[in-house]
């Protein structure tokens, strides 16, 4: 893989260049592209006779013989030991505002050093990052970016937060975990952007190392998960409950796809479930779908559908409901549920106004849940 190609990837998908961080590009350019995959033993798997293993990191529980790879394509059984092939092998490195994740109640306006490796443990037909999530690590450009370097980069580019994102961080668990511990020692925070397809034990351990998790809840029916995600809904709901009952911050995003997961009854059931099981204060983002990957023949979500969804969520008692991917929409602001004033005004990813002090609304002193500066 050529360095130029890697830089192209960085620039094209977003970021470093777009953020005006020319020096970051220059620094990345100095990295040698790596042609080698990692061979770091995986954390969560069981060994069986005859060199067989079972991965217990995510609900797929891949059972693999020698030389086989899991569904995610980034873990391989080599002579009966299971390895992650993407430890320290970053394929995307950008500086993004935290609003882009989106995390709206977590250090607003903070730049995040955002990293990803190849691979994913589901296969959403609407994936926006399929070029990196649905490939094997040897099929795309990546550089050697071990945990200590990630942390140094975050410090150098004044990013108080590291985000594990773009593809599916669960599949690069060991890399994310070690980087998080390393970052924490230096006073940085860690956020995870995930589909939530992870088993309870690794999730509970991860929660000890990170500060916030954003879950993409892709629908509220198993049928949708079977047809369009190739995954399971139940473990995702379980993961949401585990995170909600922990001390770290949680936000939920729901990408609304016309005719597939926008049924009002389904949305009502989901909002009711969130209100009952998680509580009314978890931020819920309804995000606008645009045709992509294997769903190119579907239209973009009408804004009215998103507004209807937000209305349903409000009626279910949820206090912080957002509409995403619709620049300039009034529902990208945060309103105080008590006095109804705008307490965070957003213009795209820019924070135009912040009226929260010591975690409280500056107008009425109402406590606003979140992690604030």
């Amino acid at each position: 893989m050529k360095r130029r190609k890697f830089i192209k990837l960085s620039a094209a998908t977003g970021t470093a260049a777009g953020s005006g961080l020319g020096p970051l590009l220059m620094d990345l350019y100095a990295f040698q592209n790596s042609s080698k995959l990692s061979k770091v033993e995986a954390k969560f798997y069981k060994k069986y006779p005859d060199r067989e293993i079972e991965c217990v990191l995510c609900p797929r529980f891949c059972k693999l013989g020698d030389k086989e790879r899991g569904y995610c394509g980034v873990r391989e059984n080599i002579d009966g030991t299971y390895y992650t092939l993407v430890y320290g092998k970053a394929c995307s490195i950008h500086v993004d505002p935290i609003e882009k994740k989106p995390l709206f109640h977590f250090l607003p306006g903070t730049p995040t050093l955002s990293i990803a490796t190849a691979g994913c443990n589901v296969n959403c037909k609407f994936c926006q990052n399929w070029e990196i999530s649905q490939v094997r690590p040897e099929q795309i450009s990546h550089i050697d970016f071990p945990p200590d370097k990630v942390v140094k980069f975050a410090q150098k580019y004044s990013c108080p937060v590291i985000a594990y994102t773009y593809s599916e961080p669960v599949v690069f668990y060991e890399y994310m975990y070690d980087t998080s511990l390393n970052a924490r020692k230096k006073g940085l925070k860690n956020v995870v952007i995930t589909g939530g397809h992870i088993n309870p034990e690794p999730l509970e351990e991860l929660i000890q190392a990170v500060d916030a998790i954003k879950i993409d809840l892709k629908a509220f029916t198993q049928d949708f998960y079977t047809k369009y995600v190739r995954g399971e809904l139940k473990p995702v709901l379980e993961a949401i409950k585990i995170i909600a009952s922990s001390s770290i911050w949680l936000e939920i995003v729901y990408l609304v796809i016309p005719t597939l997961n926008d049924n009002p009854k389904e949305l009502r059931d989901m909002c009711q479930w969130i209100a009952n099981e998680i509580g009314p204060d978890v931020p819920l983002h309804f995000s606008r779908f645009h045709p992509h990957y294997l769903l190119k023949n579907f239209p973009s979500t009408p804004v009215s559908t998103l507004e209807e969804a937000a209305d349903i969520a409000g009626k279910a008692g949820l206090n912080y409901v957002y509409i995403g991917n619709v620049p300039g929409h009034k529902a990208e602001n945060t309103y105080c549920p008590k006095c109804k004033n705008i307490i965070i005004q957003r213009q795209g990813y820019i924070i135009a106004k912040l009226k929260i002090k010591n975690g409280r609304c500056t107008y009425c002193n109402n406590r606003i849940p979140g992690i604030w500066i």
Partner: protein, 298 residues
């Protein structure tokens, strides 16, 4: 509609104690197999019906199993010699698989020389996977540019193995090696994915024949190599019907399992369901009544 024919040509002790098959015997087996493809006939004529002189023939082998359990290099070598005798220029023949590393590990010598028989992997310089995604039924994949751009007529020269998920891996699943994301098609017993992938234009319109290397069969705990469950079977399996060829392979695996007192794949919940799906999709026959299996010893 006529039954599908599957020709199983066997030669006892074809392989040396080190597992290396005798090249001359292989050539004889190929000749026999090709000559019986459409009823008794001439191997050359049958090859000339299958391939035109200007075809770019892709021989898709399976080298995932390393040195012990991959298509033996002597097998495509014997096949190639007969293709050339039937009038195909050597420069029009490519033996290929996913990666150069897997090919060399399995004992192949790479050759990218344009003027002779070529042996290389999709990861060779200037090749790789298509940028564009092929979206077809439940399949969303990038094809190896070897299969999508270079090859005009394809031979699946796979090996026959038990498979922990699909039940059986043979000629049809071999094409998982022609896409960038095979790991995405292993759930629900690889069904309907094996059949659906096979029905994409890049495969269905190019596939000419399944020839299965059943010299050594992994009949249990595949697809990885386990010597205690691998049998020297000494056979090549030929069929113009890709589904029937895999069906016959399944039957052989069941015979070997039965002989060793192992439960059937159905009993293990691994019956190769993809065969019925493929039959429903009219890719070939998967019912014993519709398949004539012709067994030959040489």
């Amino acid at each position: 509609m006529a039954n599908s024919r599957v020709i199983i040509v066997r030669k006892k002790d074809i392989s040396s104690p080190k597992g290396i098959p005798d090249l001359n015997c292989l050539v004889r087996m190929f000749k026999r197999g090709f000559s019986l493809l459409n009823g008794p006939g001439d191997y050359k004529k049958n090859l000339q019906i299958l391939f035109k002189a200007d075809d770019q023939i892709g021989i898709k082998i399976n080298t995932l199993g390393g040195k012990n359990l991959s298509t033996r290099p002597e097998v495509p070598q014997a096949l190639t010699s007969l293709l050339i005798k039937s009038g195909i220029p050597s420069k029009n023949i490519i033996t290929w698989d996913r990666t150069n590393r897997e090919l060399t590990t399995a004992g192949y010598r790479l050759n990218m020389n344009k003027k002779s028989i070529k042996i290389f992997g999709t990861d060779s310089r200037g090749l790789g996977y298509e940028q564009d995604l092929t979206s077809h039924l439940n399949i969303g994949s990038r094809f190896s540019s070897i299969q999508s751009r270079i090859v005009t007529a394809s031979i699946s020269l796979a090996i026959v193995k038990d498979h922990g998920l699909a039940g059986v891996t043979a000629g049809m699943k071999n094409y998982f090696g022609a896409i960038h994301n095979p790991n995405k098609y292993h759930d629900s017993n690889c069904n309907p994915y094996i059949a659906e992938l096979f029905s994409t234009d890049s495969i269905w319109k190019k596939h000419r024949i399944s020839i299965l290397d059943a010299l050594l069969i992994q009949y249990h705990r595949g697809p990885a190599y386990h010597s205690q469950w691998a049998a020297e079977y000494g056979a090549l399996i030929f069929s113009l019907d890709p589904v029937a060829a895999d069906f016959a392979s399944w039957q052989i695996i069941e015979e070997l399992r039965f002989a060793k007192g192992l439960p059937s794949l159905k009993e293990e919940g691994r019956e190769p369901l993809y065969l019925k799906t493929a039959e429903k999709m009219k890719l070939g026959k998967a019912s014993p009544a519709d398949i004539n299996i012709i067994r030959e010893e040489i």
